[in-house]
Amino acid sequence: MEKIPILRMGSLLLVTIQVDLYDRLAENLEADLVQTINKTGAKGVLIDISAVSIIDSFMGRIIGNIATMSKILDAETVVVGMQPAVAITLVELGLPLKGVLSALNVEKGIELLTRKIADDKEPEDADDGDSE
């Protein structure tokens, strides 16, 4: 069965979604990621969706779940590279990706995650810039 690879970069996990996911594949990714965060103690998850042309409510929910689960395991999730047409469609569909940070590209995403992780370590630094 096809599987989406999860790359490890220091304390971050990087996932690049290159195919249009069907349901089982997306659910497997969710389970795999949770397991990998647990195993590696990763502090951040970066999901690159620049190649994804369709996000429907199911996919949106998977992304939301990943963010929620990561949070519970003390890791932040950033979604990067969402195509503008996808973003517009998501708004109209009425799907707010609650609790999911986003960034323009992988580089910006890593920056954001690194900052977030540093902030979490020093809670006195309360003023964090979530949005790009």
Binding site: Y22, S53, I54, D56, S57, F58, R61, L95
Partner: protein, 128 residues
């Protein structure tokens, strides 16, 4: 096209994409109609165990568009008005599929009869 398994949704979406490109839809409108189709196909799988999806190119005056018909012989929807509400779900889900789809397309029609099945017809005009 028959849709009986979740993997069937991908070739269906690809076919729809070809039609949308042929009609000359903008990328945003392509994305909207494919997302809407994805929601309706998923409902058909989840609640009716599958069904049939038809893609048609249509025109009205100078405007071209795409019409999609999703037909299933599932359990039907007892209260369509309620099902069209944001947040209503019998599947412990977000309940976004039907109302969200309606927002994404130009025209939306749903006919459902308990015990007989459900037919959803949507139209997206090229510039709609």
């Amino acid at each position: 096209m028959t849709i009986t398994r979740e993997v069937d949704v991908i070739p269906f979406r690809n076919r729809l994409k070809e039609y949308a490109v042929k009609v000359g839809m903008s990328l945003v409108n392509q994305t909207k109609i494919i997302t809407a189709a994805s929601e309706l196909a998923r409902n058909m799988l989840k609640y009716a165990g599958g069904g049939n999806a038809v893609i048609e190119v249509i025109s009205k005056g100078r405007e071209n568009g795409i019409k999609l018909i999703f037909i299933d012989k599932g359990p039907g929807i007892p209260d369509v008005k309620l099902a069209m509400k944001d947040g209503f779900s019998t599947g412990k889900s977000l309940g976004l599929g039907l109302p969200g789809t309606k927002r994404l397309v130009s025209e939306f029609d749903i006919q459902s009869e308990v015990g007989k099945g459900t037919t959803v017809t949507v139209i997206k005009w090229k510039n709609g």
